[in-house]
């Protein structure tokens, strides 16, 4: 699979006088991913973001948006083609919600009808009632205004969204809700998102990849798991002690499910010679509807591989595939077992998760 690149920074620097606010940052953002820029305040993350849509012009280097150098584009047209979300006070207080959402369409002189239809469509996308369209921003709560901010960024149907600490000004509970909504929304809209935050938990939660900036330099770049494994002292102190569990919390257990496990139908015999049995102590018994009836320890089988139904050991309480690895590990530790059955409500028995596989996630490519 070839990966399309939406945004590329090539040795981009920004100088204010002699001050190098951003120093030769190079990175690529792939189409459809959420790329998080994070770092302590004053590290240049917001400056880097604003250089992408040229709210701040860069001093040197190249910035490519969908393969085209932004220096060759009209800055106003560029900004109209990229969604931009900031904290909720960025809504225009003198305009209704509908006018706010359709603001870009108004700038590009789309018809009133198109503006209205788009606003109606988008307010539903972000989960607000239609009658909010005639209200003013001040009549909405912070979280609701933030949703309008996201809807507004989507109005011109951009491929790329820039989000500058979008959830920074709302309370922690609402923030978490908005993060979840963003992830859910992203499932369907699949935009390329560059997301700036100073909150490492937020970064781990929403980011497909994370870039850590320190004094204008990109010191670390990778998936949340790669970031956690970085040896760099600054990165370690920045992400903090609990980071590992934060990351495990963002990974769905379905990623570490053992799919190749020994199965046997309830009225068949176990084939002792099958390769798949090697390394396993148990074999799992399923019925015709893919429901797991339980498991059989291999040493309780009769020599010919047949078994009695009463030999089947029932499964421990199963989990669904959408739980996090962190939750699965916790559950195994609590119940004192080394594996966990995973059952999907629709598709039935999915397999099991081994404690070892969860640990391997961390050891993985540390070598």
């Amino acid at each position: 699979m070839t990966r399309e690149i939406s945004v590329e920074l090539q040795k981009v620097s920004k100088l204010y006088g002699q001050d190098k606010v951003v120093n030769e940052v190079s990175l690529t953002v792939e189409k459809g991913e959420i790329f998080v820029l994070i770092g302590p305040s004053g590290c240049g993350k917001t400056t880097t973001l604003k250089m992408i849509n040229q709210l701040i012009p860069h001093t040197s280097g190249n910035i490519l948006v969908n393969g085209i150098d932004v220096a060759e584009l009209d800055a106003v047209e560029l900004r109209r083609s990229i969604g931009y979300v900031i904290q909720y006070i960025g809504l225009l207080p003198h305009l209704t919600i509908q006018e706010n959402i359709a603001f870009v369409l108004k700038l590009t002189k789309q018809s009133k009808k198109v503006q209205k239809e788009k606003a109606e469509e988008l307010i539903e996308t972000v989960g607000l009632p239609l009658n909010y369209l005639t209200r003013y921003p001040r009549e909405l709560s912070g979280g609701q205004q933030q949703r309008v901010g996201v809807a507004r960024a989507l109005a011109a149907n951009p491929d790329i969204l820039l989000m500058d600490e979008p959830f920074g000004a709302v309370d922690p509970l609402t923030r978490e809700q908005l993060q979840n909504e963003l992830l859910r929304l992203q499932e369907s809209i699949r935009k390329t998102i560059v997301f700036v935050t100073h909150d490492i938990q937020e970064a781990f939660k929403v980011g497909s990849r994370i870039g850590i900036l320190k004094q204008g330099e990109l010191v670390s770049l990778g998936t949340p798991m790669e970031i956690v494994k970085t040896d760099d002292e600054f990165v370690k102190s920045f992400i903090g002690q609990g980071a590992l569990f934060e990351v495990l919390d963002t990974i769905e257990v379905s990623r570490v499910i053992e799919k190749e496990i020994p199965l046997v139908r309830e009225n068949e015999k176990v084939d002792h010679t099958a390769d798949i049995l090697s390394g396993w102590d148990n074999v799992f018994v399923v019925d015709a509807d893919q429901n797991c009836l339980g498991y059989l320890p291999l040493n309780t089988l009769k020599p010919d591989g047949s078994f009695n139904k009463n030999q089947i050991v029932p499964l421990p309480v199963s989990s669904t595939p959408d739980i996090s690895v962190k939750f699965a590990v916790e559950k195994m530790l609590w119940e004192g077992r080394t594996w966990l059955p995973i059952v999907d409500k629709q598709a039935g028995f999915k397999g099991i998760v081994l404690f070892r596989s969860c640990a391997d996630l961390l050891a993985g490519d540390r070598g």
């Binding site: 709210l55 900004r79 904290q87 809504l91 225009l92 207080p93 700038l107 001040r138 507004r152």
Partner: protein, 216 residues
Amino acid sequence: MELLIGAWNYFLNKQDLMIAVLKEHVNLVLWATLLTILIGAPLGILIARTQKARDIVLGSVSVLYTIPILAFFGFLIPIMGIGTRPALIALVIYGLLPVIRNSCVGITQVHPMIKEAARGMGTNNWQLLFKVEIPLAFPVIFAGIRTALVMNFSLATYAVFIGAGGMGRIIMQGIRTYNTSMLLAGILMVVITTVLLERIIGYVDRRIQKRFSLGE
């Protein structure tokens, strides 16, 4: 009481004159205010961009503002003679300070985050000015216009000294001829019309503040 009845009778007998001076007065003030807005609002919006321009313009307008109007007339007569034109110029200059200052303050107080959000969505400079900054500054700009209008309305009473007529005519004539009924009629007329104007524009102002209100 006798005085009031005299004033009332004067008013009834000289209705034509009363209406004529009121017309002169209103005409003068409206034109002066219109010119003030046309000059002051763009200037205020322009100087909102740089601190230096702000200091220079607001500084010099403030100095002009402190000159007493009679001294101002004295200065204008050798240049422009007497009549409506110098009166108009004087009123415009007095009205400029509140209009320029409020336009400037109105524009500078628009929250930078709001402006940045608008620019981030792709407004060009004109769209930013007309779709974001001016609408958001409008309540403050209007408050400046209100001040200028009401102030000019009372200042225009002096216009009689420079031969531009207005309600001051009745008062001046009353003083000169020791006609207390006429004097009182003139004074009452100025007071009542000014209060009325203040009430009307106050109502409009409240409507505007409500419509554009950015409060919580």
